[in-house]
């Protein structure tokens, strides 16, 4: 799937991981993610959308990739400049995603076993 490829590329591009990210506020980041309407494509938990074309933000996403995708996005996502979304804003949103508990595995979800 295209979205997986995009994020695989972003992962490769990111040399730094969570421990290299600037300190951020997960609480503020959660609010910002909604205020900026990022969740309209990515979902509040980075799960992506229901149509298959909206990218996920998988657990363990690297800081540098996260920042790159906001500033110089691949494909159709608009770019967000510093003056609109500051580095601290990005760090806060990254902190929010880093704080999220990983989703349960599909095999452990009874409702998904029926498919």
């Amino acid at each position: 799937m295209r979205i997986v490829l995009v994020f695989a590329a972003a992962l490769c591009a990111g040399a730094a991981f969570a421990q290299d990210a600037p300190k951020g506020s997960a609480e503020r980041g959660k609010k910002l993610f909604v205020d900026l309407a990022c969740h309209s494509c990515h979902g509040t938990h980075g799960q992506g959308g229901g149509r298959g074309s909206e990218p996920t933000i998988p657990a363990g996403y690297p800081w540098q990739g996260f920042l790159n995708q906001l500033r110089k996005p691949r494909l159709d996502m608009p770019a967000y400049e510093e003056k609109l979304v500051s580095s601290q804003d990005v760090a806060d949103m990254f902190a929010y995603f880093s704080s999220l508990k990983a989703a349960p595995a599909a095999k452990d979800i009874p409702q998904l076993k029926t498919f």
Binding site: M1, R2, D35, L36, A37, H39, S40, C41, G43, T44, H45, G46, Q47, G48, G49, G50, R51, G52, E54, T56, P58, L75, D76, P78, A79, Y80, E81, K83, L84, V85, A103, P104, A105, A106, I109, Q111, L112, T114, F115
Partner: protein, 642 residues
Amino acid sequence: MTKARKTTTQTPEDESGLDRRKFLKGAAAAGAATAAAMAAATKVAQAAEAKPSEPKAEANMRGNSFIARPGSDFMLDVIKTLNIDYIASNPASSFRSLHESIVNYGGNRKPEFLTCMHEESSVGMAHGYAKAAGKPMGVLCHSSVGLQHAAMAVYNAWADRVPVMMFAGNGMDANKRRPGVEWTHCVQDPAGLVRDFIKWDDQPASLQHFAESTVRAYKMAMSPPQEPVLITLDIDLQEEAIHGEKLSIPKLSLSTPPQADEKSLREAAKMLAGAQNPVIVADRCVRSQEGVDALVKLAETLQSPVICTGNRMNFPSTHYLNLSESRPGLIRNADVILMLEVQDPWGMLHGMGDPWKDIRRAAKPDVKVIQISLADFMMKSNYQDFQRFQPADLAISGDAQTSLAPLTDAIKRELSSTRAAEFAGKADGLRKRHRDMKERMKTAAALGWDASPVSTSRLSAEVWNAIRNENYCLAVSDRIAWPKRLWPTTKYTNMMGGSGAAGVGYSAPGAVGVALANRDKGILTVTLQPDGDMCYAPGVLWTAAHHKIPLLIVMYNNRGYVQEVMHLQRMAGLHRRDPKTARIGTMIYDPEVDFGKLAQAFGVYGEGPISDPNALAPALERALKIVKGGAPALVDVVCQLR
């Protein structure tokens, strides 16, 4: 399919001694206005059609107290021969005579009058109904303003290639129009409003003209490519008495769908039999289970993966050759692509970036494309739903469903035993690919599983678990992609596609129409209902309650027009301005709509809003109990935006 119909002749003399009007009058006088009596009246009335009568003793001219036999009675006789079960309408004076004929003379049976609260709802219901029932519903519209309300829904049906039998009341004789509103509502050429997106129309000037044009319209609507048609009902023609003219109802003989020519099919068979990586793309290909079965045989013969676009349930999702969710890879590697009634062939081979409109080729440059379609037979210039032009290596005009079996036979003749064995050898790999695809979908569905608002994958999974033991139908199956990805579909009736033209407002009435057709077949109907769509004409909830149409409505309530949020956000980014304003004019908040209460107000069981995913299953269970009892029920679920 050809249905033999009686040809009837209306003469002034009652040779049989049966007089329908007197019979009904007598039945009413005897207090026989029960369903049984109505059924009997209708039966006798239908029997009388062979040799009808006109009362001799009663005057039938204007200026007297009564109209012995209005023209609308004969109009209903014509409509009845078309086996139309329902006629959806918001009542209006321009067809008051036909309305009265339906409910009294016809006993309000076949067709039964469905009370609608908006003409868009009437047409939307007819649209959904036709896909599920396999035949049209009638729609009655008021001349100008009613048809204006209906127009968007008509365009949806046009783009979705669905037959709708529309009638619009109108007063043609200016000398007889009442002053004021009647003049305002009359129109010289009512069909002009929708002529760009209907197949055919007429404005009959006599009852015989009406009979011939109505039967012709039905025949044309049902001939693939199926489309809406419109007959204008002149007020005076409806209301004036039949003057003893000779009237007959033409026999309905549906045209055989055009099968692709054998020479072209042989050529297609050669190309497909020689392909290393053939792919079948099915869009509005099939109209029935027969079509699904025929497509399965074709795909198995070729061991070719199938991509279903979702506009029809063309191919079972449980079949290992259904690899719809692997579309990019399949298209990229294909050497021959067979496109079956694909609305947008160019879009299958290309993508386009937004906003820079950069074209991204999705297929090999030398991929061979075979199209089987009737698209060339239905084009009109103004509305652009025919999409961007895509040349084909072999373009075959023909009805895709009808052409599947002869194409399969032609491929079998082309396949050498060696080649057939090679094809059969691909099956294991394709089975694994199908299993892997399903696992990927489940893994993706697990993301955000416990999120609140509820994720659309969780919503879809919970609804499936509520209905999985039923003979089910998802009435509108394109608003959330998860059911198409996850739910096992085996029957044509499992999923009914979408609106056609993406005109918002189809989902709610379309689902009610599907549910009505399924009620008569004993299929449980469920729909995932977007909130913005519901707000267009929520009165259809009342129609569902009033006519006891069982439908499980699960709100996909994301409290906004989310696609537009994304557009606004994109524009703001491009314009280097604040994206936080994207919710202005796009989100439905302050106050939020309470759809549970909305349903209750229309007499429908409703509960919610539910934001906790764990509260969903018991709510669905409660609602399902209502639906199984024969009524609609709504559960309002606050969802993730996408």
